[in-house]
Amino acid sequence: MRRIGEGDANAYRALSERHMTALLRYATRLLGERTEAEDVTQEAFLRLWTTAATWKPDARVSTWLHRIAHNLCIDRIRRRRGNDTDTEIVDDQHQPSDLVMRRELALTVEQALLRLPERQRAAVVLVHYQGMTNPEAADVIGVGVEGVESLLARGRGGLRIMLAALDESKAGAR
């Protein structure tokens, strides 16, 4: 970060290569929309480049980048609240059945995550998918460690209910 702060573009490129994928995945899972997630990822790296000189090492770079992306995602979610945000359903009719099943399952998980309140979703995504510890996730979301534990428990509880409902509907269909 010190080198990026001094204007070293190569250091910036190395760091962006290291964190780009994780940040895009986080934004995609939080927003449920690829194009917006790409905008957020780009904006986060622009902020990294323009503010690196004033960066203070009070957190890991990865946590700091996730915090920026998180705040940008929450802004977008709040802005579009009230609009129709239905996730696009992909027509898989002509794909092989195994692929269709896997795609359907993936889509179900994505839609279940999107049904969670945004902070619970963020806690689940940060800990489960981004591999963060509870204190790191708390730092990103801007709550205490106990707060993130509560969000995680409620989020996982909500997902468990959705998973059970899905199993029941599958059993009923058979």
């Binding site: 001094e6 780009m20 896997r102 998980v109």
Partner: protein, 101 residues
């Protein structure tokens, strides 16, 4: 030893698909240094930092001016009853001129 059974919820969550950055996104992110001026480059044009630094520096200069002004009042004293070495000298010169033939 048997491995602890994994929570079905975690396995279910793992079935979500991962996205990869597209080529245009990669390019846009790596080109950020080319398209946006660095803070360090702006610093070369305006080396005084943020506006608050300029304002605080101006305030410090003003405060120093006030302190210097207040303390200099004691040096320039208009009280005619106080005689300094300069006034003795002035009187001495005046007296010599009057005593001269």
């Amino acid at each position: 030893m048997t491995e602890p059974q994994r929570d079905p919820l975690d396995s279910w969550l793992d079935s979500a698909q991962d996205v990869e950055p597209s080529a245009p996104l990669r390019r846009a992110i790596t080109e950020v240094p080319l398209r946006h001026p660095r803070a360090a480059e702006r610093h070369a044009l305006w080396p005084f930092g943020g506006w608050w630094k300029v304002v605080s520096m101006a305030l410090v200069v003003c405060a120093l001016g006030v302190v210097a002004g207040v303390s200099s009042v004691n040096v320039i004293d208009d009280d005619p009853t106080i005689e300094s070495d300069d006034t003795d000298l002035a009187f001495a010169i005046g007296l010599d001129e009057e005593l001269a033939p």
